[in-house]
Symmetry: C2
Amino acid sequence: MTVQIGLIGAGTVGGGVIKVLQKQKSILEKAGMPVRLARVADKVTSRFETLPVGDALCTADAFDVLNDASIDVVIELIGGVTFARTVVIEALNRKKHVITANKALIAEHGPEIFECAEKNGVSVYFEAAVGGGMPVIKSIREGLIGNDIVSIKTIINGTCNYILTRMSKEHLCFEDVLKQAQANGYAEADPTLDVGGGDSGHKVAIMASLISNGYVPYDKIPIEGITSISPEDISFAHELGYTIKLLGVINKAEDSEGLDVRVHPAMVKDDHILASVSDVFNAVLIDGDAVGRILIYGRGAGELPTASAVVSDVADVARNIIGKTAIRLPMSYYNSSNVVTINPIEDIVSRYYLRFSVIDEPGVLASIASFLGEQGISIASVIQKERHSDESVPVIILTHEALESGLKQALSIIEEMDYILARTQMIRIEQ
Amino acid sequence: MTVQIGLIGAGTVGGGVIKVLQKQKSILEKAGMPVRLARVADKVTSRFETLPVGDALCTADAFDVLNDASIDVVIELIGGVTFARTVVIEALNRKKHVITANKALIAEHGPEIFECAEKNGVSVYFEAAVGGGMPVIKSIREGLIGNDIVSIKTIINGTCNYILTRMSKEHLCFEDVLKQAQANGYAEADPTLDVGGGDSGHKVAIMASLISNGYVPYDKIPIEGITSISPEDISFAHELGYTIKLLGVINKAEDSEGLDVRVHPAMVKDDHILASVSDVFNAVLIDGDAVGRILIYGRGAGELPTASAVVSDVADVARNIIGKTAIRLPMSYYNSSNVVTINPIEDIVSRYYLRFSVIDEPGVLASIASFLGEQGISIASVIQKERHSDESVPVIILTHEALESGLKQALSIIEEMDYILARTQMIRIEQ
């Protein structure tokens, strides 16, 4: 038998999938998985002109794919969570397997989708939703099944990593680098989902769900983006031996029922393996109780890396279909009856970088130190430089480990002081 | 049904597998893969005392496991290629699936084993044979199936990487670090297979076979170990901005039918991602035509990391058995009718680090440069330091890209000169 594939959404990634499928056709066939691209749908029909497929395969109507009884597998590459959700649910209800690269859809509607797949006896694969071509999902679900995964730290948004890398190397400010990134295609016209941390949050929600065998709701994850990071922060971090990255962090806390999940800028030591992940590259650092630390590093986005992941899903689904095992990996635990509690970020214990913008006058440092001390926060190091404007002078403090609630309490008091001239910058330090 | 497992070889890794299987039992069960450790064999029966299994399961005779008709899967953790080979072939002939961590066995007897598996309609899994708990085999065979993998560069022997890291950090010589590594268990009493490069060669042979869909014979791979690397080489490399690593290199050459496969010490730029892989850690840098560069990093050996890989194979085999798909991944291409030609190392083009030990007299550098020039080898940089003994002075030359055969021709002429006082050191530079 030949596995019949329908592709819905023929944009950049869709075009890449078609290319990679055609290139690997004979490899898949030799490995016992003959596949055939049977139908391609996109409402933007001008996209068909550049595709290496015959006109007869193409349609503007996604339902031509969904209603084609000969199609075994639907690849959803539409993006967004509205029509994409409809397409996925309708495909599953027609007992078609689904492959998607849609992180937002899985993160926000995972339980509905997996329950629908389970009910219909078909599978949903989503390797491309996290980390582009890096086999992150496969590694978590299969390669590391001998482990209780106790933590994940990840740089999972290429746009943010590119911006932070260029800010760091060229001493530029966020806005300038963002403009350049938009000009050369590394950032979207509306960059909010990337630079605001939401895209990282979607991917972190998916990984957190997988390692906790439950559903980690995206909208409960504390998320901070990189828009407030200044060149000053980057150079102070550098001076202190740290690099600033947008990190996704997942920790199974020993003494808590809930999960510590969050996305925010963080300082990592220069010799930390994540500090060496630059430009558009992504990395996922996984800590398993048997395997120890594993890092997977690569390109987390782009036409061909993402297509590589989609095609690996095609191979898995084709093997399932040919082997008559419709559901090989369980769809059942990622469901709405098994929602994981996310710990409040105020409960974490971390070290902190604080940059206060203060009036240059005697007693200010003593006052700040005293307010921190009242919350049990002790200071590891201080940098106070000479005045860099008539207005304010930066005071940099690295704390020892402290409870975030205490730190925020101290900051809220300090922020009220007359000597504070601008919002205090706070960046967590990850070990 | 419950999948019945027989374990043969209850040493360090075997004990780890038992621990991890017990710990993950309920996870595997929930995921639809109930497994049961039915039998454990080891001729060293004293090992049973520390195992968390009942005496009734244990036997000194491997054939008690092989002849037990209730056993579906045999895990071979004996090591070596003699009795281990017998056990694997006998298990396959009894239509039992085989899981092994034995890199030497797969590298040296792969075709016989896979042909036997194919003939008997069962599967052989060997994730633990390469890179301990890192999902390298799974990534190559499944996660990256959308790619033509065009090159692999890898640090795949923890003992060598530990020795080179300590030599580099503490300015020690090879012999001293080896002794310490043996004392603290990071090196075997007979370290030949590790420091001579053979262990890396086994793993590289397996990866090379997988990416070329054929059989890359281990005994044809050019292999050099790290025993000749001196603290002097490491410090000159450092001075030039390079780190010395034992690398496995696989390149699909564009203009050649054969494969470039080799294991040798190599200099990599300090900012190369492989330069940051230190101590016992391993890394596999894979270059795929769709995905670009992917790095997998982790612990390549040890009780629990290796057990993690074995248990992931158990899960895969259990899924196959329960899904009634005896052979999910093809066993057929890794066979004796499909032997891959390995290109002579003399055909590679590389940059080279050369350390000549010469008499400190006028004209020596000119003579060396002239012999190199006659072979078309141009010099990129030179370091000549003041005499460090009455006898000899080191002259360091970094070449531009050159054909290895020409370089060796030049060296064989230079080595005959009276001004040469010791064997010339040659280390390839990898981009």
